[in-house]
């Protein structure tokens, strides 16, 4: 599965469009991480726990998106976009969407 965020797949030609595919996941931070982040909040600097949380969630959203594309019979997803929203206190939704295509 090839994923890009431009309209084409470089070096390949799109032969069929399958429409939009999407994947999302909602993640909450847990108390342990929150506590450490609270301490880190005093001195500033990178919150590694949150960085990991975000990238895991993003991978999960991408995985669900590609799974959907695979079911449609696509072998690539183009023009992928990411979006985030906070749906509840302390929880974040990560959302990835794109256009499923078949390339040759």
């Amino acid at each position: 599965m090839i994923i890009t965020n431009i309209e084409t797949i470089p070096g390949k030609a799109i032969v069929e469009h399958y429409g939009i595919v999407q994947g999302s996941t909602v993640r909450a931070k847990h108390i342990g991480r929150d506590f450490m982040a609270g301490l880190k909040n005093l001195v500033g600097g990178e919150l590694k726990g949150y960085t990991e949380l975000l990238s895991e969630a993003r991978e999960e959203a991408l995985r669900r998106m590609t799974e959907q594309a695979r079911q449609m019979g696509a072998n690539a997803v183009v023009n992928v976009r990411f979006a985030t929203s906070s749906v509840a206190q302390g929880a974040a939704e990560l959302f990835a969407y794109g256009t499923a295509v078949r390339v040759e």
Binding site: I2, I3, T4, N5, I6, E7, T8, I9, P10, G11, K12, R27, K29, D34, A37, G38, K40, N41, L42, V43, G44, G45, E46, L47, Y50, T51, L53, L54, S55, R58, L62, V80, R81, F82, A83, T84, S86, Q89, G90, A91, A92, L94
Partner: protein
């Protein structure tokens, strides 16, 4: 002496935290900026552009690359920003925070692209997101989250 400390703990603790936040925060920020500048020099040969497509005569393949980072504000800067809320105007302490987060996210994206053997990253987009809620609310963890993503172009051999 210890009695005095205990009686005035409400006053002394915030002052201690302010000093701690100021020293640790500015040391961390300076160190981070040095590391950002050094790595930006290293990646000069691998540009990231916001153009959709770059004309190329060679055979290339593309791949999505992502970089993200969450950076927290320190106690001192948050206090400054809360004061700023009264008078309005530039919140310089937050500007550097967001700047650091974005540049770090781009660098991480470039690292991933370099690992894949790319020579350029096209259609780069930057987004700032939120799991830590607003950076300014009390009892909330003030943080800025940046994500950079783009398509890495890799020359086929």
């Amino acid at each position: 002496m210890s009695d005095f400390l205990l009686q005035n703990i409400n006053l002394i603790l915030p002052i201690f935290l302010l000093i701690l936040g100021y020293t640790a925060g500015s040391i961390a920020e300076r160190r981070h900026y040095r590391s950002i500048e050094r790595r930006e020099q290293e990646f000069l040969a691998l540009p990231a552009v916001t153009l959709r497509d770059v004309e190329s005569s060679e055979e290339v393949s593309g791949q999505l690359v992502i970089g993200n980072v969450v950076i927290s504000i320190d106690y001192f800067k948050r206090a400054l920003a809360i004061l700023r809320n009264i008078f309005g105007g530039r919140v310089a302490s937050y500007e550097s925070l967001v700047d650091r987060a974005r540049r770090e996210a781009i660098l991480r994206m470039k690292e991933e692209a370099a690992k894949a053997g790319a020579h350029i990253v096209v259609n780069m987009r930057i987004e700032t997101s939120s799991i830590g809620q607003s950076a300014n609310r009390k009892k909330q963890i003030g943080s800025v989250e940046a994500i950079a993503y783009g398509t890495a172009l890799i020359k086929q051999v």
